[in-house]
């Protein structure tokens, strides 16, 4: 019984975290599913978004402005990876790793802005002193300051805008780039441009997610993005497995990513309550994602074998 009540108690927190990471998962969906690129920039740009948001808030800029700056920082991070890929000819995975590594130093300097040695690995921000839009403190309150309200509103706007964008001429050319780059170029689409654009949009969402996350948890930390890509992928893959058959519409697919992230955090809560150490969480996440990525591959192999036998 104590297990159940404890679990129920932790649900608002798990759902809130799922909503925040759901925004990140939508970003991962854009690169991984639409552009067909696994972009590892996100491990760095998540923290960049958090660091930028917190440092501007600490310097008494309005929250709306701090979030806007975080989004712009994300756009720049995606731009860097895009240029490394398209203009320097570096494979996208490696380009993302390079940006991510570089961002580690950048993030330290953002958080250390204005301090004596100009570098800091952790930057706290108190909800008592600053007007934060989302905070874990109010996660169980049935009031307007509950973070879930703001998060749901953010997600609604993001899904609406992306749904519109991917139906436009530019949005469609981005989809074509991921679906078949050859065809895209033959139809006059500058695939270098669309790839950079996709990476920028994706990382802007990831940075926004990081900005909301650092407010929610009350600090930005240089390690907050470590393994973020795996959580994002987990959410995208869970969404595909659970909702793939019923969510056909594009906006529903984006929402599916958010639901996937929520499921991920609920499951994490359950295994933690069952006694798993938080130290082992990353290993568990990696194994789960590896398994789900392998499933379609194994399925195809089995089907191919069956077809061969059947043909005899």
């Amino acid at each position: 019984m104590a297990f159940i009540t404890g679990l129920l108690n932790s649900m608002p927190g798990a759902i809130s975290q799922g909503l925040i990471w759901g925004i990140m998962a939508i970003g991962v969906y854009i690169t991984y599913k639409i552009l067909d690129v696994a972009d590892l920039t996100v491990d760095g740009s998540l923290c960049t978004g958090g660091a930028v948001c917190v440092i501007f808030t600490l310097n008494h800029y309005p929250m709306g402005f701090a979030l806007l700056m975080a989004v712009i920082a994300g756009l720049l991070a995606g731009f860097a990876t895009g240029i490394l890929h398209t203009k320097f000819g570096i494979p996208p995975i490696l380009a993302g790793i390079l940006t991510q590594l570089g961002l580690y130093s950048v993030n330290l300097h953002i958080m250390g802005w204005g301090t004596d040695n100009g570098s800091k690995s952790n930057l706290p921000i108190s909800v008592d002193k600053y007007k934060l839009w989302v905070s874990s403190r109010y996660v169980r309150d049935l009031a307007g300051n509950n973070p879930m309200i703001v998060l749901v509103a953010f997600i609604a706007v993001i899904v609406f805008v992306l749904y519109w964008f991917f139906g436009t001429e530019i949005g469609a050319s981005l989809r074509a780039t991921g679906a078949n780059g050859n065809m895209a170029r033959a139809q006059g689409i500058n695939t270098d441009f669309t790839k950079v654009l996709g990476l920028m949009i994706s990382n802007a969402l990831v940075a926004l997610s990081g900005a909301l996350l650092s407010q929610y948890q009350g600090f930005a930390d240089v390690n907050m993005g470590r393994g973020a890509i795996v959580i994002g992928l987990a959410a995208v893959i869970i969404a595909e497995v659970v909702f793939g058959k019923i969510f056909r519409n594009f906006s529903l697919k984006l929402l599916g990513c958010v639901l996937g992230a929520i499921i991920y955090y609920v499951v994490i809560q359950i295994v933690l309550r069952l006694g798993l150490s938080t130290d082992d969480l990353k290993l568990l996440s990696a194994l789960v994602v590896a398994l789900f990525l392998a499933l379609p591959y194994w399925k195809n192999k089995l089907l191919a074998k069956g077809a061969k036998k059947g043909g005899k």
Binding site: E169, R175, A184, A186, G188
Partner: protein
């Protein structure tokens, strides 16, 4: 309409895999020319089309389309002038997008793409009518994902996409080679119809000598990165597979290497 002046292309220069694919190729097409191209494996047929389309830059020489020097234009910019259908049915369409979405992408070939809706209501109507000329029943499946179509249906759709906005030049790279004979005949029929109706300047590579003789007003034979034979008009009408084979051996000093060309 198209002028290729003495172009050269060597792949992997300086390595063991070095391959001189085009060795001083020149070709001039008048408006409305429908040229069929034959030649053995490795003669440089596809390489020629890729050079025209700008998949990569040529090492030397010049390419003009309708008087415009496109030699240094990247592939996506040349697409404004060039319509293409590939040998691989997978290559010409976006499988995860709908039939009408693919056509909408093709409609904007060579134009600026902005934040207008990719697919307008008028487009949907126009595309239905357009697709119905293929006589494949695709007009009832306009919102199906292209990945669900057969190879022949995809090739026919790619052909429509390549000609939706009238290209200065249409490049067909053995676009029926991967299809079964019946489907191949149907796609070839659609090709003839569309090319004639729009008076398109066309280059069609084929492995099939009969097709090469039956279609177009001009036949070009390639060997070793160059054009070795260029037959047109009345002379082309008199060609037979045997005379063509004989001609090939005479000009190149080798036997024709592709069995399918003779048997097909």
């Amino acid at each position: 309409m198209l002028e290729i002046k003495d172009i050269y292309k060597t792949f992997n220069p300086g390595t063991v895999n070095e391959k001189a694919a085009l060795k001083g190729l020149s070709l001039k097409l008048e408006e409305g020319d429908f040229v069929t191209v034959i030649g053995g494996n490795g003669a440089g047929k596809s390489t020629m089309l890729n050079a025209i389309a700008g998949v990569w830059q040529v090492d030397d020489g010049q390419i003009l389309i309708d008087g415009i020097d496109v030699t240094s234009l990247p592939e996506h910019k040349r697409a404004a002038y060039v319509g293409r259908v590939f040998q691989d049915p997978m290559m010409g369409t976006a499988p995860t997008m709908q039939i009408d979405e693919n056509l909408a992408l093709a409609k904007r070939r060579g134009k600026k793409r902005g934040l207008k809706a990719n697919l307008s209501k008028e487009d949907i109507k126009d595309f239905r009518a357009l697709v119905s000329i293929l006589d494949l029943g695709l007009e009832e499946r306009m919102t199906s994902k292209v990945g669900l179509l057969s190879g022949g249906q995809r090739q026919a759709l790619t052909l429509l996409m390549a000609t939706l906005e009238k290209p200065k030049i249409l490049l067909l790279d053995e676009h029926t080679a991967a299809l079964d004979p019946k489907t191949a005949a149907k796609v070839l029929e659609a090709t003839e119809l569309i090319v004639t109706k729009n008076n398109l300047t066309t280059i069609m590579i084929t492995h099939n000598m009969k097709d090469a003789i039956a279609h177009g007003n001009r036949l070009v034979m390639m060997n070793d990165g160059k054009i070795i034979l260029d037959i047109r008009g009345e002379e082309k009408k008199k060609l037979t597979v045997e005379s063509l084979l004989h001609e090939f051996e005479k000009v190149s000093g080798e036997e024709f290497t592709s069995d399918s060309a003779i048997l097909g």
